[in-house]
């Protein structure tokens, strides 16, 4: 059990008490946060998704191309579009950790990944001019929970097909702090 403070839509502020040493903050009966001796646990739906490219995409030479991720591993808030726009538009405002990687079958002389926010480059990743077959990028981005979205673009100096497997070409994001 737990003590609770509930902001009720019918009764106003309702509090209950017990001897558990645990306090729940509730919105109309739904527990939003739990405070105990171990810290604060929030239960607000913090969006997270992971998707990968399951159908190989061929990039043109020297052209930043939006990568397509057709298969979801998880999408806790149904905020990732894996059909049309391949973009993540979270419905909860906050700061998000973003990871992306793309891979090619044959080594490339130059490849660069980039996270786009609202259609423009936000952060780009490693761009090596030596032969390689994998490029990664990670960043933290603020998204407003309504209109902001992120996408993942890839660049290859010499175009070729991507390696379309879950471990090779993927895109992930998860909220790490609320707004």
């Amino acid at each position: 059990m737990a003590s609770s403070i509930n902001a009720s839509t019918s009764a106003g502020l309702v509090s209950t008490a017990d001897l558990s040493g645990v306090l729940q903050l509730q919105s109309n009966g739904t527990t939003i946060a739990t405070i105990s001796s171990t810290g604060v646990q929030t239960n607000v739906g913090a969006p997270a998704f992971s998707a990968y490219q399951s159908s190989a995409q061929t990039l043109s030479s020297a052209t930043y191309t939006k990568l397509q991720f057709q298969t979801k591993e998880f999408d806790t808030n149904s905020n990732f579009d894996a059909v049309t726009n391949y973009r993540f538009t979270p419905t909860v405002a906050g700061y998000y950790q973003v990871n992306g990687q793309f891979s090619v079958g044959s080594s490339a002389t130059s490849m660069s990944p980039a996270i786009y926010k609202n259609g423009s480059i936000y952060k780009s990743g490693n761009n090596s001019t030596s032969n390689q077959n994998t490029a990664t990028v990670s960043c933290i981005v603020y998204l407003n929970g309504s209109t902001d979205y992120i996408e993942f673009y890839g660049y290859l100096a010499s175009g070729q097909a991507l390696n379309a497997t879950a471990s090779a070409t993927y895109f992930q994001a998860a909220m790490v702090r609320s707004a």
Binding site: S60, A62, Y64, S112
Partner: protein
């Protein structure tokens, strides 16, 4: 023939480095929306090619 190929054919002096981020002066982009490759930005000393110039370049 890709947009990159056409630009290289129009300006043979260009190299892949001119397109390479973040220092390249030409940025090509494809939004995977079925509309194909396009010039996102152009700060190269050569003039940006027109759609007509690009359309006239064939194999």
């Amino acid at each position: 023939m890709t947009l990159y190929d056409k630009i290289i054919k129009l300006y043979p002096s260009l190299t892949s480095a001119d397109f390479c981020p973040p220092l390249g002066t030409i940025m090509l982009q494809n939004d995977s929306d079925g509309k194909g490759d396009y010039i996102k930005s152009w700060t190269n000393s050569n003039p940006e090619p027109t759609a007509e110039q690009l359309a006239a370049i064939t194999e």
